[in-house]
Amino acid sequence: MEIVFNAEELEKIETIKAKYPETKAALMPTLWMAQKKWGWLSPDVMRYVGDLLGLTYAHVEGVATFYTMYFKKPMGKFHLQVCTNVSCMLRNGDKIYHHVSERLNIGHMERTDDGVFSLEEVECMGACGDSPMVAVNEDFYENMSIIKVDELIDSLKKT
């Protein structure tokens, strides 16, 4: 697969650049776009983004590795994020995490062999009022329980 943004995406990057007085600031938004398109930030993707913005590979990799939401390896089609921080833990978020981990037989930042699911133990997601919470890719599922998370995984398997 060739790593290039299409014309429309390149145009979007230009409008992003215009938001900031310096091009470097466009790096995070561009990495978001790249991750959306290619699923994760491979060294080739990072090199491409660096060339595009006139930044060194070292800088791009430095930024990509600082932030946990940029994937440095391929993740599942459904990336399950289970919060085990305090408010969720008080309502059994940690048990949900361990249940999902056992059921799918994967640990933190691992992916199932078929590439359908990956799992992440996340820090507080700002959903403490509806804890425990699980996120699937960009969507929040709140007031979860072991039964509900099982149903969620079943329904995702079917799609």
Partner: protein
């Protein structure tokens, strides 16, 4: 009993996020009133209102604005902090979802007061949906000509501002104001040494003000109801309404807008319906996970504002109230908190990087029943050595809750300690220095 008051951040109006409904309910009147004053006049009104920052440190907002240099032709920036990653905090999200136009109006007023031409709203990466909602609100305000190049014409003066949104990508430390600036500039989110303060040297080296989302979203109401009236809401030294996020062992968790100074017990029992199973309360964290806890037997009579919490050794923080019932394992909970800060430490300063690691390691040892009672003192000693010795306050944020839980709930921790490894404390009578030196030597 909760006194009667008017909600000003999250009023019960359906679809208030729609710009037309917002306008129909007095929206943008605050800005119009503000621009009838001079920029300094606006800052003075905010000072008079007594508004204090909602990002955790409670810094007086008007005073912060007055630090921005005047009469310079350098560009100036406003960064609005919606990183909201402090465990137990989930309030700014409500503003993005239910009252985003008020946030935009607040940015316009703040921008006018400090003569700022560009504002950046920084939203944590996990809030994908709320990033989209906020972007939609910004787009609507542009379409109406309320911000951007048509703004001056719309309001009949010569001031205009652009508002941009910047999405984070998962890093708690980016909520710290200087780390936020590093992140916005496209770098790793490393905090910077202060001074220079953001007002002197901020984004791209230019004067910058950083305020929390809730702080800025409050500002338009000050101009609608008047600074004087605003200052009379709630506690006099920390006035206004706060968004309290209540979570943990509670019947009706959620975000509630209440006046400052509301009794904690009223919030827990009247507003949130008490504790599931009518259990007793063992501990309450009053303002997000970095704040030291309150013991269950302390909470009677405690009012939720900064000045009232101070004597109890804790702070209002982000107003994230976390309730723990009598059956909570506080050792496990403290370990979880320590794990969080260890994970989030950016690693620039040794006391924070190594200290947070030590806190987690020692707590794990205690949790596994492998510790001696001396390890409890060691936790306090490590915390003392982190506090105040770091570039940013993440170090303090890690030290405070650990020290708070160990000192306030010592017996809980003692229970986890191996009996055969319990030592008679040697230094029960003396203060800080004695404790520190002796314990470190004894490891």
């Amino acid at each position: 009993m909760i006194p009667n008051f008017q909600k000003i951040l999250l009023p019960e109006i359906d679809n208030l996020s729609d710009i037309n409904i917002y306008i129909a309910n007095g929206g943008y009147e605050g800005y119009k009133r503000a621009i009838s004053l001079s920029p300094d006049g606006v800052t003075n009104e905010v000072k008079k209102s007594g508004l204090r920052g909602r990002g955790g440190a409670c810094f007086p907002t008007g005073l912060k604005w007055s630090f921005m240099p005047k009469g310079t032709d350098k560009p100036k920036y406003l960064a609005v902090n919606g990183d909201e990653s402090e465990p137990g905090s989930f309030k700014d999200r409500q503003i993005f979802e239910h009252n985003p136009q008020q946030l935009i109006e607040g940015i316009m007023i703040a921008g006018y007061a400090m003569n700022i031409k560009a504002a950046y709203i920084y939203i944590r990466g996990e809030y994908h949906k709320w990033v989209d909602l906020m972007q939609k609100a910004i787009d609507e305000a542009y379409e109406k000509g309320f911000i951007g190049s048509n703004m001056a014409k719309t309001f009949g003066n010569d001031y205009s501002i652009d508002i941009y949104l910047h999405k984070g990508a998962g890093a708690y430390v980016c909520g710290e104001e200087t780390a936020l600036m590093s992140s916005l500039e496209g770098d790793r989110g490393y905090p910077r040494v202060k001074p220079p303060f953001p007002a002197q040297k901020g984004l791209w080296g230019m004067p910058t003000t950083v305020n929390n989302i809730e702080t800025i979203a409050t500002v338009p109401q000050i101009f609608r109801i008047g600074a004087e009236n605003y200052s009379k809401i709630g506690a006099s030294k920390h006035p206004g309404t706060l968004l309290f996020g209540v979570s943990g062992h509670i019947n009706k968790p959620g975000v509630y807008e209440l006046p400052t100074g509301t009794l904690l017990t009223d919030i827990i029992y009247d507003v949130c319906g008490g504790i599931p199973g009518n259990k007793k309360i063992k501990a309450v964290i009053p303002g997000g996970s970095s704040m030291p806890p309150l013991r269950g037997d302390e909470i009677d009579g405690i009012m939720m504002d900064e000045e009232s919490l101070k004597p109890f050794g804790t702070h209002i923080g982000t107003g994230g109230i976390m309730v723990m019932d009598e059956d909570t394992d506080l050792v496990k909970l403290t370990l979880r908190i320590a794990h969080f800060y260890h994970h989030e430490s950016c690693g620039q300063c040794t006391p924070c990087r190594e200290g947070c690691g030590w806190l987690e390691k020692i707590l794990k040892r205690i949790y596994n029943g492998e510790a001696s009672s001396r390890d409890l003192d060691l936790l306090v000693s490590v915390s003392n050595n982190i506090e105040g010795n770091t570039i940013c306050a993440l170090g303090d944020a890690a030290a405070w809750p650990v020290r708070g839980f160990v000192t306030k709930f010592r017996s809980e921790f003692e229970k986890h300690v191996k009996q055969s490894r319990t030592f008679v404390p040697q230094n029960v009578v003396h203060g800080k220095l004695n404790t520190r030196n002796m314990l470190v030597e004894n490891i």
